[in-house]
Structure formats: structure tokens, C-alpha cells
Symmetry: D2
């Protein structure tokens, strides 16, 4: 007996539009209890005052409350990422585990785990990385993924520091800036993933937020005010799962590294690397960011000096354009804030695709 995964990518007409998910449930195509995680790419600015994430989550929870208990909803990872700059398109991605089958694997596999609540003093520090590492290993076990190389993406939602939390910690915190704590928390989580996957051996003192040479090729982290634990979704492949779905990943070394993307897509459609099979690309998950040195292959970019428009918005639009051109559709989960997630200025890219 093998487990089976289903992925549903569903358009949304706004942050409160859960009608597509509701229809799937109403039609019997999926059961609410089969949903293991929900990702949402919403159309806010993806920065501090982006209320589309909370609005989408509130809408999801209200809809799901007709089908699941409060506890079940609380345990369901829901990761909203704001920002559909350029031509990117708002959408939901549902990770479902359906009835098991008798086919043999390997195939797409996933599972989630959650750390204990962090103390404010642990956010953005070694402790967070270690707790994350343990949770990644736990989720791998839940997903029956034994080898690190079979992990293709780790989506994490992690906490940040507010002034209340800084006060609670009597100032023993990684930073007292809310904005900066978001980056440090993402970075600490990413290094936790790197540790779990054997991409690094240890996390040196003072490396979080500083040493751009340490990174995970599969971590994708976003920080949110609404939780104190780290929620982890591990996505990969396992022989214990069957069916037509697969996962793969690559790393963009900079913001215009179409070559790496082409190599990744060639795994799916070797004969046509540009838009070889848009309908088979069920989910595209990527991180984008402006390089900190202000240039791309020695040409200056202006993302870090634009006081009208956050660098993360620039980066999502730009990398989103490249990926959409290569893949052939615009429902891509491109997310910003890539500290220790891929090299500086670049980032991980994962695809979930169908072999049929």
C-alpha cells in the first residue's frame, strides 16, 4: 500500500475568494479532511502592512469551519505569501493526501510539523534554527522521506518580534526592530533547514543574517505576527507514495539565472525547455530577492534605492517574469525575503509536476 498525493492549484479573485476550494469540496473531488496544507499567493504588497494575508486566512478558516473542527483547522498549515507583482496571479495551492493505492512509488510526498512555541529571546537565533532542524526531520519522517536529497522544498512560517515580545524578553533579543526580526527569523529557519538536510554542518556564531555564504537550496521561509512556533511543510519524493506527481528543485544563482531554471524544467519536458508543458506544472515555488551588492552580473540595479517601491516587490515581479516566461503560466508562488535561502540575490526554485 502506498500513499497518494493530490495538488490543486486554484485561482482566487481576491483575498476572500475561497469559492474555488469550496466548489472542490462540494463536488466531492476532495474532502476537507484530506487537506494537509494550504499555500496562498495573495495580491497585497507582501510587506508590513499587507492585510491580504490575514484576510485570506480569516476567509479560509471561516469556510473550513463548516467542514473541520477548530482543532483540526488550528493544526492545518496555512501559509499566505503576499505579492503578485508584474503579471503574477493570485492563487491557492492545496496539498491533499487521498486514499492510498497499490501502485509503487516513488512519487510526490509531503508532511508538516510544528515546533514548540519559541521564547522571544530565541527568535532569529541558534535556538530557532535547532528547533526548526528537528521539526524538518520530524516532518520528513511523517512524509516517509528518509534521504535528505529527496527533499525538494521546505516551506516555513515562523514568528517575529514585536515591541511587546521584546519587552517580555527584557531586551535579550536578536534585534529590537520588528522589520529586522522578520529577516533574522527567516534566516534562522533557513539555516535550520540547511542543517537538517546536511547542507551545512553547524551554524557558526553570528552567522545568522551575516554570512551570505551559508544557505539552503530548498528552504522558503516567511515570518508572520500571528504565531510563536515554526510551522513546517516538507515537500519531496518518497517510495512510500505513488501516483503521477513528482517534485524537483533547482537554485537560481542570481535574479536572471534562466539557465538553472531551464535545467530544472528539462527534467519534465526535455525536448522543449521553454513552456514545454504549462499544464503539467502544477506548482512552481520560488524565492526572489534583490542582491545586497546592488548589481546583477556587474550591472547596477536600483531595487535597493527605490524609496517608492520595496525591493521585495521589484524582485518578485522581475523573477516572476522570468519564471512565467519559462513555465508558460503566471500562477507561480514567488515569494520575497530570501535570507540564507539560496545565494545572495538568487534563490531556490521547486516544481511539482505531473508525469501524465
Amino acid at each position: 500500500m502506498t500513499r497518494r498525493a493530490e495538488i490543486h492549484r486554484i485561482s482566487m479573485s481576491g483575498p476572500s475568494d475561497v469559492s474555488g476550494i469550496e466548489s472542490l469540496i462540494a463536488s466531492g473531488l476532495i474532502k476537507a479532511g484530506q487537506i494537509r496544507a494550504i499555500l496562498g499567493k495573495t495580491e497585497g504588497n507582501g510587506c508590513v502592512n499587507d492585510f491580504t494575508r490575514g484576510y485570506a486566512t480569516q476567509s479560509l478558516r471561516a469556510m473550513l469551519s463548516c467542514h473541520l473542527s477548530g482543532g483540526e483547522i488550528d493544526r492545518l498549515p496555512m501559509v499566505m505569501s503576499g505579492g503578485t507583482e508584474g503579471g503574477l496571479s493570485p492563487h491557492w495551492i492545496l496539498f491533499c493526501e487521498t486514499e492510498s493505492g497499490t501502485d509503487s512509488g516513488p512519487a510526490l510526498a509531503f508532511a508538516s510539523a510544528i515546533t514548540r512555541d519559541l521564547k522571544p529571546s530565541e527568535i532569529g537565533r541558534q535556538a530557532q534554527a535547532e528547533l526548526t532542524c528537528d521539526a524538518v526531520l520530524d516532518a520528513m519522517k511523517q512524509a516517509d522521506i528518509s534521504r535528505p536529497e529527496d527533499v525538494h522544498f521546505v516551506q516555513i512560517k515562523c514568528p517575529l518580534l514585536t515591541s511587546e515580545r521584546v519587552a517580555e524578553a527584557d531586551g535579550d533579543v536578536s534585534t529590537s526592530s520588528m522589520l529586522r526580526s522578520m529577516g533574522l527569523s527567516r534566516g534562522a529557519s533557513a539555516l535550520g533547514v540547511a542543517l537538517a538536510l546536511g547542507e551545512i554542518d553547524q551554524i557558526p556564531q553570528n552567522s545568522i543574517g551575516n554570512d551570505h555564504d551559508l544557505w539552503s537550496s530548498r528552504a522558503s521561509c516567511s515570518s508572520g505576527i500571528e504565531l510563536m512556533a515554526c510551522e513546517i511543510v516538507v515537500i519531496g519524493q518518497s517510495a512510500s507514495w505513488s501516483g503521477p506527481l513528482r517534485a524537483a528543485h533547482g537554485v537560481m544563482t542570481d535574479a536572471i539565472d534562466a539557465t538553472s531554471v531551464a535545467n530544472l524544467l528539462a527534467q519534465v519536458t526535455p525536448s522543449r525547455i521553454i513552456q514545454g508543458g504549462p499544464e503539467r506544472m502544477l506548482a512552481v515555488l520560488a524565492k526572489a530577492e534583490a542582491s545586497s551588492n546592488g548589481s546583477i552580473r556587474n550591472s547596477r540595479h536600483t531595487m535597493n534605492e527605490d524609496s517608492d517601491l520595496s525591493a521585495t516587490r521589484h524582485a518578485r515581479a522581475f523573477v516572476g517574469g522570468l519564471l512565467a516566461g519559462m513555465v508558460g503560466h503566471t500562477e507561480l508562488f514567488v515569494s520575497g525575503g530570501a535570507e540564507h535561502q539560496g545565494p545572495d540575490g538568487g534563490g531556490p526554485v521547486a516544481i511539482i509536476y505531473s508525469t501524465t
Copy 2:
């Protein structure tokens, strides 16, 4: 004897940075008198209150005044286009005509022309299109390009309506909105190009700004407050010119049409369509815009509803990312506002490349 073209693409560290051009002149690599046109991609927002265009032009004129007379400077087309969203990089492109040679063509060819000053009542209307058509034909003659199919890009700078100009025309104008007049002027110019190149036979009543099915595959128009005439630079190939430079063009049918871009690049590096020869791609000139129907291949985009960020900024970043990924560098002249310049949501792309 054949004419010879040189293209210099020069980075700028800000709108007033003309040092790269100055160095070229000082070193003797080019003579100021050989410059036939200057394009500049500056880092403003590309919209109404983008002062980087005027600042760059003022800086250029001050620098050139050491080398050219006022009249010569006035006759030199300088087209500044604001907006280096995403990872695009601010740069100048110099079109120079050097000493003639004895090689045979065909090779890159260009020339400029200018219409008479338009009356305010002519802006955005049939009259503008017809004057533009005549000037395109005139510039083709100057460039020794006889066949329309040898024209690969027509860069135009055209006037717009201000409240003073509307008053001057006693209200007999295409629109009394300054912003809307920019689009109508660009559109009228583009249809003038289409007429000159035989892409359309005539310009039907009321088609300017309305009939999205009429467009030129080679027009690129921007409107500016500082002139009342239309300034035209025709870029193409001619047997009267020699040297290693060539021009080619394609049309993106929508914002993610990487296939058309790949086909265009394949003319230069057939064996490697992705980043096959960044250093040979001397200039990449493209138009980008958000589709008016709000979607790309049936997926909703949010560019037209984003009140924080102009749709033209979204579009430049997104298409810029795709092009940069395909070409392999970020000094691309991607410009917004593509009325009748390529199909709705798409746009023309031209490359000037070296065969060596």
C-alpha cells in the same frame, strides 16, 4: 563605399552621470559629431512626475555643449525612457555613424527625421499619424533603407496635450486629459509607423486608442512635454551599410511570450537560445504593457488594480525579467505604454547585435 554604424551601450550611475560618454569622446573612440541619436533608460518611475528624463537630457546637453553647437544639439534625437524596475539597469545607448568603409553590406543602418510642429488639435489624431508616416519614410531614405521589411525598430518621441495647449485649440482636441493624451499621441504615432511599413492600409475613423487589433510590430513611442513635433529614429538594415552589426525584431504576443523571444535570439545564437551570447547583444529594445482585459492566458493579473504602483511599472519589471533571463544581461531598454505597438498586452522586441 558603405556607411558604418557603431553602437555604444554605457552604464550610468544616475541621471546626471554622463561620464561614460565623456570618456568615450575624450579617449577618441568616438567623435561627438558621429553621434546620430542617444537613447537613455533612466531610473525614474516612467510616469508623469518622472524628473530623471529631464535631468538626464539637461546633463547630456551640458556635456555635449563642449563639443557641438546649440543647433547640432537641438537636431540630435535624445529619447529618455524612465523606469528600470526589477533588475533592469540604467544605461545610455549611442547610435554613431563612423567613417565609411569598403566592405559590402548589408548591416545595421539608422537615421532620424522630425515632423513639423503639430498643432494641439492634431495630437492623438489622424494628422499626427500621417505626419509620422511621412517622417518614417523620410528617415528610411536617409538611412538608405528601401524595403519596409528591413526596418526593425522605430523609436519615436511625440508631444502631449497640456491644459494650455487644450485652451490654445479652443477645445478642439482628441482629449482634454494630459495623461490620456500621452496614450493617444503614442497610439497615433504607432499607427503612422504601421502605415509607413505597410502593416496597415489606412487608419479608420476612431481607431486611434480604440481598435486594439491595429498595431505595428516595430513602433516604440513615448510622449514628452518638451516638444511639439515628432522625433523619429528608424533602425534597420541596409546594403549601403557594412560592418559586423545587425538588427532583428520579433513580437511578444503577450507578457510571457518567451517563445517569440527565443525565436528572435535563435537568429543570433542558434545553438543556445538562452543566454547564448550576452556580450553580443549590444542593445535590446522592447515595449511592455499590462493587458487591458486583466489577464494573461486566462489567469488574472493585478497590474490594473494596484493603486500603489502604476501598471506600467509592473509591466516593465515583469517583461524585463523575462528578457534579462533570456538575454543574459540587464541593460535592456524596456519601455511602457504600448498603444498600437504590438498586440494588447504584448509588444515589439528588437535586438541590435554583433556577428563577431
Copy 3:
């Protein structure tokens, strides 16, 4: 027996923060059934992609569903206005009618009414104005306000046109632009108020959106996608109501008309017109907009040319600063989009204050 009004102004920490209202209900200070209307000033951009309005409404409805039936909630006017630019502070204003008393009036009085659903072809046109006029008269009757001069503010929420609605009307619409329909709908509603209050005798052909000389001194209109009817809240004074609360209004003739504001405030605290009694100013309701001629008392403003920042955001911040300085607190309901609501560049200002 006289009716009695209570006004509660409640801070919100975000669009979903209804805890302040919940506490009032939980403590027994108000009963949910006494709420007659809820206004909310939320922290979005106040423009097309402002999701804080929908998020706040969704949060309100979820909270109220523990206390009221679905039908009662549907009939409760909830008017969310986005935009707390500058130092303005997000807040709710609850209009409650409590147990009647034996004191004599006059005092603050209010009531709401709703038109039938509009046809798309009626939006932004005469028909909308007339329906609004009737509903204002109806709400005045509900509030026991017989004289037009006793009406001090009329808050209206009205529909807009979408492409679906334009199609439904077979193109027989006031405009096919969604953004423009918002202004025409606000303007038609405002002229309906002017008609009801005897400020104008009739609505001349083609005056909606064009004739800036026609305006109401007490209309405040906002358009939203979520309804097809016009929801009207009339605020004034009536001898049938008693208690310590009063209403008054003035009109700012331009964006810096502090003199009119001072005259209005002098009705409350004649001895000290600047910040004479911040705690007595329970609600301040105002409209702000950038003058269409581009200047304020012959000095140019840049609000209409700023492509990075909507003119409505500029106007709310600027007029908000003036009002906050005069009143002495920042929880002010300053709203943008003032077509036919006060003179061009100015707008109505109303206060609800306590005499004790």
C-alpha cells in the same frame, strides 16, 4: 418621551480588531441591537486595491453574528472608509440608539435608509440621484428630522460599475471605466442629497461629474463593489431626541480653510477655538480632495501629478493634519473622493460633540 443617541468612538489595532466593540457589548455598556450604523476608518490606501475595508467588514459581521441574526446584520449600515494617511488613526464609530428618556430635545438624531437595487444603467446618472433623494427624505422621517437645515451629514455607500455590470446593461452606462464609475456614483448620490436638502432645485442634464458648482454641503459618499443599492445614514438634530449630544457642520472652501473649521469648532468651545475640547469631539467627519485646477490659493500643488501616490492619499493626509491640529486628536473620519460634496478642492466637515 424622547429618543436618545449614543456615539462610541473605538480605536482599532488593525482591520480585524473588533475587540473594542466586543468589550462594549460584553460589558453591557451597549447592546448589539442598539447599534444603528457602524463607520470604520481603516488603514488601507483607500483606493481600488484596498482590502482593509472588506477585511474590516468581514470581521465585524463575524463578531456581530454572535449577537444578531443574519437579516439584522444585513440591514445594519457598515461604511468602511480606507485611508489614515499622515497621523490619522484607525477607528470605529458606533451610532447607537438607547432607551428613550423623558428629557426634552433637541439633540443628536440619526437614521438609515436604503434604496432599491439600482440597474447598472442607472449608476452615476439622474436615476441614482433621484432614488438617493427619496431615501434621504425617508431616513429624515425615520430620524424625526423634519427641516433640511437640521441635517448635518449624510453618509452614503453607493454601487459602482464593473465590466460584468456594463455588459449586463448592453453598454447603456454612464461610463465603462470602473474607476470613473466610482466618481460618477459618488457624485450622483451627492446631488441626490443636495436635492433632498434643498441645496439645488434640480439636476441639470450632464451636470453629474461636470458642473463643479453644484454641490451639497453635507453629503459624504463612498462607492463599493459589494452592493447595488445606496445605503444612507442621515445625521442631524431633532426635538424628538434628547441627551447631551449635538451635531453641527461647516464647509471648507479649499484644502487650507482653517477659518471655516475654527468657526465650526467655536460652536462648541467659543473661548478656545484651537483644541478647545478634544474629549468632547466624539466624531469628526470630513471630505477631502485635491483641487482639479492644480492649485490652492494660486500656489501649485503636486497631488494630481504624483504617479507614486494617489491624490486622494495626499488630500486625506493634508486636510487630516489641519483638522487634527484644530480638534486636538487624530481619530478623524477624513474621506476622499468628494465629487459634488462641497466645492472643488474643499469639502463638508461635520462634528458630533457632547455638551457635557
Copy 4:
């Protein structure tokens, strides 16, 4: 014999519009050699990528080069401040010293001074404050102002750190962030003013950028990339100067402190504190900023969390609205970034007015 001052406030239609100044010179009303300082309020975003400051300066210099030598232009303080949010109006302020007269003073007096070039390691530190203190005392001497209480405003332009300058200092710098260095440099300059004017006795270790309780009531500082020295313009009153012009100042304790503004204006028009004499208010110079604690009189503001719009833009619009309402015109020099310039969230306000 006494010295005499003239102030000319001149509208500008854009950053390059120096025509108003040119006309004054051409008409003989002023001589270029009489100009002692030029302030400009330009319409950019006032943040990092605001090119209107450089564009305005370049335009000024080109115009002045017909009247003054290069050295004279270099010694003339030109302080451009970006940001005319809300209804503020772009303008120039010329400080001229005309022929001396025989009237007796006191009257408006001013002079400028400049420090030596700072080393990168000195920027934002004690050394900068001390050099500034000395230069303020020097300018006071030049202006014949002997008593600190006769100084009403000190406008300073000071340097910032770039990555090159950080490298030059081998990392021995106050901060390696360009943006943060702007604030530290402004703060260090402001504390230098406070020291010179006896507002503080010393600058404690680590107080720059940290101790919000230390501030000058008359400092107004802006940092720019184009200089390494601090340029200082001291404005005050002196018995050695005569004529109808006067200066006065106050301090807003927070962003809505209209009471302090009223008290200041009452010095000019005691009988009518609101818009008592707009035409006599030749120049209004003020600093504005968002309070760091996120609230104004205990009501939350959203300026610090708005990722679409810089807090400095919010603050200029908001305080600008208050000041314009009180003064009665919109050509106000309201500037952002008020570290150690007035209390946290408030700022200095100075007026230059005519007694006739």
C-alpha cells in the same frame, strides 16, 4: 550703518524652473552677488531616489554661472529639500543681503559657514557635532548675532556615508548603512547646534541617534551625498541689521501641536492667529517626523508600518496641512528627518515675516 536683508519666495513649476529667480535678477530687483543662500523645496519623494534635488541644484548652478564665478557658486549654500506632499507647493527661498542702510535694528540677520571636510569616520559622531558647533558660532559672528537666543533657525546640509566611504575608513564608521548614516549625520549636526546655542552642555557618549531627550529647538538638518563638509546657514535677528523683516521660532511638541504654532503666529498678528497675514509670512521653515512610539497623544498612527509610503512623506503632508491652515498659504519649507531636531514626533518651526 546697518546691514539689510531681503527674502524672496519664488514659485517653481518644476525642479528645473529657475525662471523666477532669473527674472528677479534680470529686472534688477536683486543682484546675483547679493544672494547669500538659496533654499529649495522640490517635488520629489524626499527619500533616497529623489533626483529633484540634484536636478534643481544643477539648474540653479547653470543659471547662476551667467552671473557668478565658479568659486562664488561653490561657496553659495544651496539646500534642496525634497517633498511637497499634500498641498505643499514647490518654491525657492532666496536670502539676499542688499545695500546697507542707516535705520537702526534689530532685524532679520543671517550668514553661512562651512566646516572642513569630514573624514568618513567622523560622520554621525561627536567630531561632526563639534565641528558643526564651531561653524554655527562662526556663522553667528558673520551675521553679527551675539546672543544664542537671537538665533531662530539653523539650516544645515551635512554628508552621509556610502559604501566607498565606509571602505575608505576601514570600517571605523558610525554605521555601514547609507540610510542610517543620513539620520546619524543629521542628528550629530543637530546636537552640534544645540551645543552652540547652549541648549545642551555636552554630548554624552552614545547619545547620537539614541537619546531622544536631547534636541535643539532651532536645528534643521538634511544630509546629501554631494558634500563631505557641513554647510550651515544661521538665521536670526541682530541689532546690526535693519529693515522690516523679523524672525521668530517655536517648537511643535508633537505632530498636531497647533497651539505652539498659534503662539508663534500671534507674535505677528496677535488679533488673528489663524491666517492673520499670509502675505506677511515670507518664509515658514519647519521639521516634521513620525513619532517613533507609533502614536500621537495615545492614538495609533500608521506612518511607520506603511510599506507603500515612507513615514517622512506622511509626516510632511500631515504637518504641512496643519501649518498651511494656520498660516494661510502652501509655500512652506516643511522638511522630514528630524533626529534631535525638536522632540520625538515634533519639530522646530521658524517664520520670517515682514512687519509692514
